[in-house]
Subunit: 477 residues, 2 copies
């Protein structure tokens, strides 16, 4: 265990904050609830962004950019939307030295301003669908903030699409849920559960909200992405109409979907351990670090020379760095890179140089078990293969953890017990009020009604009524 | 001439606004002075961003992200800085339903918040240099706005670096000026003039400001990027100190440098013509468009089939699209893609299919002169080569235009005349007051003192005093 780090068992929340700060992912800022994303954390976010963006483009979406400042009156056009967001607004009242006639809000999300523009752009069925995504910052005045998980300002992408038919919009909503699931599983190695939000938990202004829920290492749930079917709510509020093929005016059907810098927190809390971060190779800013080792000065030159050769050979294939720092022992460097979660460390000493091999150490497997001697000549094939192996292994580890902390329950007492350490899965037919009562009793919430349902029917864990769906309950971030 | 477009000669400003709107680069928003960057314009910006970002990383910089909202008191710590920016601020006075104790400003630029963080992060000479860049939105309350050129909110990158010595910081300032020049010349095909800003025109809080100045097709100047040597001004204001190798506290030396969405406007106004946009191939969202042509329905299938094959062959090599739109004539499509500035159009008709060739039409050379028959089998080599040719040609065209509108002048009368249509280059030894008088007389400003100086000395065009430097004067955006 890294002695400067609180252990996860001792205090998971403290561990989280410490590792985010110590691994240079982020820092507190002087602005209440806002954080600074430091270069290492931002590079991780760039990797997340690039992998999501690639998937958005592959599914026909394009990026655009809409104004940060939104007239207050826009928010008021959709009643549920304004009700949901008004407690969280930052308001600009002065501009250029004068008081504004109408206050502007700093966007908490962009349905309203985008809805206004779509009303202008969409005239005919030929203009549909509109498939736009925006990468942007948003501000929500949060009372309790946590680095990456809940900050007053955060970075995200928000997709906003408009369609001719309800079915198309529903399909888009579910397609983007699939895209998020695929990203989470393949890149972030997080075995998320995709599902529908309950009426209580859905987005302000949505007809239906979908989510991907991850389980963190303390057994708590983290909502890592959402996709909303907005029906015609915003189309009516902003009068987004098109002339259909029969020359009749119709309102469009819209969706919105988003993933934020919160995903960085999800990666940290899904894979990290008492030594620090464990980053999935596909997202890691640095996938491989080479640590040269020498005791005598005369060994230094030959070791560094070979290390430099390895660096140049691997550079076109993986994100690799050579730790040239002077004045630090190899052991100190090992700990440092472990703390930063670099998936593979290459140790290179005089004996390795003499024997024409290197020692590769896996971050995800501690100690000797994670070390393998690799022949120098085959690094170009063995190192990328090792990274794939690590990626698969940490995913499997997360699946195993999740599965061993997710239990089917049939009684309310069981549910109460299970949510203390993980997720409870149960038949559910409760009302809004029932859901609120469960929250009050247990502090756990209905995380989602999974897409993947067993079928058939059962007895609601809370009301005892006949139920046709199962739901997942858990305490959440 | 595109009949829907005002000609450049008739009214250049009107031409500019029309083409930005019609080519779907941007749209007006309901928020005063803010614009919406539409997908086609945003993709152009993404290309600019990627090419700049690649250069930043190649010169050792990393990205990070700092808060949007900055305490008002921060701005007041550097007196010139607050004086320069306070008329342009948007101020957040309320958050989460309550009045804030201290108002927050929406960042107009980030020297202050970043300075505050650097003071925390930098302790020792080992922490230096700090080479950070940020991609972000900023807000400056502008009175007169123009799409891309001057908007209340814009997107940009702002580099902020801290160094142990003055020389290092000066070197960094000039290195980034070089990076911007290299980008402008090689990617945007804009022959910018790199130079130093006069005392009057320098950045609020800088010791020295550098700029790249482009000449637009109306002979006016556009500042397309700036790099500032900030001396120790911000280091003192925010107390950014480090312990040097002799164990003494020293203030760091800082720089900042930025390029914004304004660059999109520069591309439009450097290369565009009366038919619309002319985009440099390296930045064009679509480099090649394939327009299939048929008269009879039976021709349709075979033409589309071959067009599809060409699309698949070119896709790995260039950014290419196939125009499958129904109900539009080939002529209409030609005009449409010309208006959007796509560098190369491939026309494919039944005769081309039969003869196993395609007609390639260059956007930058109008009419028959720009058309070449290309053998079908060699498109993989000929099309990328043609794009390179177009890139070089539009750069040369811009150089020729600039050179024919840039004149050395020796008298004030000549200067007055030349700045009506272009740039005047003259020996200069004037004061702030002299510069202000020139501006009042001519509406032209001292754009820059070029890095590239003739050497020797001459007579100041305005004061008649001995001068050792030449300066460029022009009317500016």
């Amino acid at each position: 265990m890294a002695d400067f780090l609180t252990s996860q068992d001792e205090d998971f929340a403290k561990w989280y904050t410490e590792i985010v700060l110590k691994a240079d992912l982020a820092d507190y800022s002087p602005v209440r609830g806002s954080m600074v994303i430091k270069p290492y954390g931002y590079t991780l976010w760039e990797r997340i962004r690039d992998e999501l963006d690639r998937r958005f483009k592959a599914t026909g979406h394009v990026n655009a950019y809409f104004p940060l400042l939104i007239p207050m009156s826009f928010l008021e056009k959709e009643s549920n939307h304004v009700e949901g967001f008004s407690p969280e607004l930052a308001v600009v009242t002065h501009g250029g030295g004068s008081k504004l006639e109408e206050p502007l809000i700093v966007r908490p999300t962009s349905e309203t301003i985008i809805g206004h523009m779509y009303a202008k752009w969409i005239q005919s069925y030929r203009d549909l669908p509109v498939l736009i995504n925006q990468w942007a910052n948003v501000v929500r005045w949060e009372m309790r903030t946590r680095l990456f998980l809940r900050t007053t300002e955060f970075l995200w992408q928000e997709g906003h699409t408009a369609h001719a038919t309800e079915q198309e919009a529903v399909d888009e909503t579910l397609q983007m849920l699939d895209v998020y699931t695929d990203f989470a599983v393949k890149e972030a190695a997080i075995p998320v559960i995709p599902g529908r939000k309950s009426e209580t938990e859905k987005f302000a202004g949505a007809v239906g909200s979908y989510t991907i829920e991850g389980m963190m290492k303390d057994g708590k749930a983290l909502q890592a992405g959402t996709s909303h079917f907005l029906g015609q709510n915003f189309a009516r509020a902003f009068d987004i109409q098109y002339l259909d093929e029969n020359n009749e005016q119709q309102h469009v059907w819209t969706t919105s979907w988003g993933v934020s810098t919160r995903m960085v927190g999800a990666v940290v809390m899904t894979h990290g351990d008492d030594q620090g971060l464990v980053l999935p190779p596909r997202l890691a800013p640095i996938q491989v670090v080479i640590v040269p080792i020498w005791r005598k000065d005369k060994e230094r030159e030959s070791v560094l020379q070979v290390a430099e050769q390895i660096l140049q050979r691997l550079k076109p294939l993986v994100r690799v760095e050579l730790d040239r720092r002077e004045g630090y022992s190899p052991g100190w460097k090992f700990n440092d890179w472990e703390m930063r979660g670099v998936p593979v460390r290459i140790e290179l000493g005089p004996r390795d140089v003499a024997n024409n091999n290197v020692m590769a150490a896996r971050r995800d497997v501690p100690g000797r078990d994670g070390k393998t001697l690799l022949p120098m000549g085959e690094l170009e094939t063995l190192i990328p293969a090792l990274l794939e192996e690590v990626q698969a292994a940490i995913y499997q580890k997360a699946v195993d953890f999740r599965d061993s902390h997710l239990h089917d329950v049939t009684t309310y007492d069981e549910l109460k017990e299970v949510v203390e350490t993980g997720f409870a899965r149960a038949w559910w037919a409760g009302s809004r009020e029932d859901e609120a009562q469960v929250k009050e009793d247990t502090r756990a919430t209905l995380r989602c009604i999974p897409i993947d349902q067993p079928g058939g029917s059962g007895t609601c864990v809370y009301t005892g009524k006949p139920a046709t769906e199962i739901a997942i309950f858990g305490k959440a971030y």
